[in-house]
Amino acid sequence: MAITDAPKIVTARLDHDDSYTLERYLATGGYDGLRKALTMTPEAVAAEVDAASLLGRGGAGFPAGRKWSLLPAKAPLTYLVINGDESEPATFKDHMLLEGDPHQILEGVLISAYALQVSQAFIYIRGEFAVGLERMQQAVNDAYAHGAVGANIFDSGFSVDVVVHPGAGAYICGEETALLESLEGKRGFPRIKPPYFPAAIGLYGEPTVVNNVETMANIPWIVNNGGAAFAALGAGRSAGTRLFALAGNVRKPGNYELEMVKTTFRDLIYSPLLGGGIRGTNTLKAFIPGGVSAPWFGPDQVELPLGQDEVGDAGSMLGSGSIVVMDSATCMVRAAWRITKFFSRESCGQCTPCREGSGWLERIMYRIESGDGREEDLDLLMDLCDNISPGVAWPPQQTTICVLGPSIPSSIASGIRMFRDEFLVHVKEGGCPFD
């Protein structure tokens, strides 16, 4: 396998210094997709997106077209909410798109609003993205002035307003129902399911579609080139290209847009055009294939293709598209401890298994890492994991309102399964052998 010559769909403009301006956007075909969509029926636009088989790029990977079709027909009032609250550790693609090409996201939002016949959209952006917030607000303002947003856009008779909304620092607000609570001015508590999708009961209790920023960024290209052209890229259920955020002990960490399935983890990590290999003289020890909620892979799994089902069938997930590379100098106990600490800090506190379990797990992991662990702690860890997610299997069972809970055991269970000896050395030597 290799890097294919698939077109750059979401990163085409980013080489320009002024990629975020309306001038650059218009000079590179900007808002052509919206103009084209407005000549079509809303149903025809939705059908193109459905034909593209675009899987949501937030993390769950649900088909965007199907998510749209869940909206009740002829609902009197609906909202479109864009999730730009990117917080999955080591994921930094939406951050890049928001700062680098806000108009492309906005055009996707406008096309989607037209397809769904929604007249009010919100773009919820992570509060820490001060520049992203500034650029997106500027983009919205410029688009109003350009006639692409507001009343009777491009003289089509269709009207839509867009509000740019800042978050305030809470991982859980990336969960779509928590995001809606946050957008209502409340604590970011995920809502009880069912309903599983806010299409039934969403923002202010009204039917709502929530889509990710990168998902939106793909929409203009799909409308311009047709859903079939998008679906022709990739393979199987994984259509199109996707942004992979490569982080950790590689020579060239960064965001890489690659055709799905056609490229492997080996290409991404080692190709001189991509990750460039492991930093220094170390070797690959393990990698996380899709954000820290995902179970880890070992060096023997680098030949796997970057595809939704391919990674799923191998026992993990492509998730948020973030790949964390850990080299031979990495202490796996410390890595798993830090990820567990993250979940412990970010648990919203509604459900006991997650709120209490994450804290207990973090303290046990810390005592192992700092040399105070006991051999029976390994069983204790797995027992606690089993309480949060019975069976500690993948895909995980759930005892909590949202999927943060069952994400907690992934790193600990992976660490113990793949590096049990390393945990035991910490216990026997009374400290971290990597210190």
Partner: protein, 212 residues
């Protein structure tokens, strides 16, 4: 008497008008109040409650959920050092330790002169530039102990005032970018919503009567 100054208050009211329900402006308004005071003073919390149509307790209840909203005073510069997985692999724990000894406070603390508050942050989504540090929520690039010392010196000397503005993640949005939502369009949208809601309420009431 308004606690929020005239400029901030005006912006707050413009923001509230963008949302179908006033309460949705609560978090943006907290950012605005922090731009003025650095943290959420009780007077600001009360005023935000009044503007959003909720109690001060509800504002505080929301604010205490979020890392960026401070219900206690913080330093002039909030220095956030990420120690999550990508930065951990890039030496974040060593950098945090260095930052603690350089500033003389533990993570979570504020220097006695009120200039720096040090935070141990979760992933800040800039993971190809480790160790990721933000000052007042502005990225200052991948940091090492050496560059961190220079950063602290530059901040103290005011050499970064251009790139690191005061508190409030919206400060640059407010200063450099207007807020030009189409007023007529929004008014029409609100009218449509009210109509739809009334229609649905009538339908629900009708259904209830049929059952009875």
């Amino acid at each position: 008497m308004s606690h929020l100054n005239a400029e901030i208050r005006q912006r707050a009211e413009a923001l509230v008008a963008l949302y179908p329900e006033r309460r949705s402006a609560l978090i943006p308004l907290c950012h605005l109040a922090q731009e003025q005071d650095g943290w959420l003073r009780p007077e600001a919390i009360s005023e935000i409650g009044e503007i959003c149509g909720v109690t001060a307790a509800e504002v505080k209840g929301t604010a205490t959920f979020y890392d960026m909203l401070h219900t206690e005073p913080v330093g002039k510069y909030v220095v956030a050092v990420c120690t999550n997985i990508a930065c951990l692999l890039g030496g974040a724990l060593e950098l945090l330790e260095h930052a603690e000894s350089r500033l003389g406070v533990r993570a979570g603390g504020t220097t006695p002169d009120g200039v720096f508050t040090l935070h141990e942050a979760e992933c800040l989504a800039d993971c190809d530039k480790t160790v990721c540090v933000q000052v007042n929520h502005r990225y200052v690039g991948g940091q090492t102990p050496e560059t961190f010392d220079a950063l602290v010196d530059d901040l103290r000397a005011g050499r970064l005032d251009e790139t690191v503005p005061p508190h409030g993640t919206l400060v640059r949005v407010r200063r450099s970018v207007g807020l030009q939502a189409d007023r007529a369009s929004i008014a029409a949208e609100r009218a449509r919503e009210a109509e739809a809601k009334a229609a649905r309420a009538a339908a629900t009431a009708g259904a209830g009567e049929n059952k009875a």
